[in-house]
Symmetry: C2
Subunit: 143 residues, 2 copies
């Protein structure tokens, strides 16, 4: 009769140096690094870690909700800050930057009350030119 927790939550997790290092790396930066950048960061501490391990742990942590996995245009990007916030992606320098403002009202609740979808999360990504690239382009034009 009682359903019990879903399979995914039952499996026990081992805490490995690799996992710890990956989370550390991610939490130490305000950028939104892709898997290969994280790999290079962690390699400073654990020189023989493998990409598979990086991907596997990032995937796990994202599923558990400790971190966010974002669409970075090409590669996926990861975010150590799992609280809901807005993102901006620069089409020029490809940076992914946090926007200094809160998600508008509680858009998730609004959508939830109006529809039958079961919303687990949401993602808002603005795209365009970051302030620096905007300036750069302007200078190019007048040149």
């Amino acid at each position: 009769m009682s359903a019990g927790k879903p399979e995914s939550q039952k499996k026990k997790k081992y805490l490995t140096p690799q996992r710890r290092a990956i989370l550390n790396a991610l939490e130490s930066v305000v950028t939104h690094p892709s898997a290969d950048v994280i790999y290079e960061m962690v390699r400073k501490e654990l020189p023989i870690i493998s990409m598979g391990t990086v991907y596997r742990n990032l995937e796990q942590m994202a599923t558990e909700g400790m971190i966010l996995r974002l669409d970075g245009g090409g590669q996926k990007r990861y975010d150590g800050n799992s609280t809901p916030h807005l993102h901006f992606r620069c089409l020029c320098c490809n940076a992914m930057i946090d926007l200094p403002m809160n998600p508008h009202d509680d858009i998730q609740k609004i959508v939830q009350t109006l529809t039958d979808f079961e919303i687990k999360s949401y993602e808002v990504i603005f795209t365009g030119l970051c302030p620096e690239c905007k300036l750069t382009k302007k200078k190019e034009q007048t040149a």
Copy 2:
């Protein structure tokens, strides 16, 4: 002195049957097909079209703003409706569905007035379970 239009707008575009067929296919559906699905749709009409042509035209049309290119989890998805609207992606059946409501206020203008970013577009994607998959999962639990 006058800057003129940016390079990207100067190049003249030829209207080919392939391009027409791709746009047709995209505008004939309310789903958000990936490139390979569009390829199969267009192949009914133009049996020898190649994937490269599909990708190239989708990319061009997205850059011109005629269509939208969305992150579909794995593959990219394309949307014949280029007016801003909200999307929902089902984690179970992987469908990408338009939400029947308008983008909240004019969030783009709000962000634009508060920051120095030059915003070209934005994308809001909710993820979770669509009504059908929600039901399916519920039935599985009681079984």
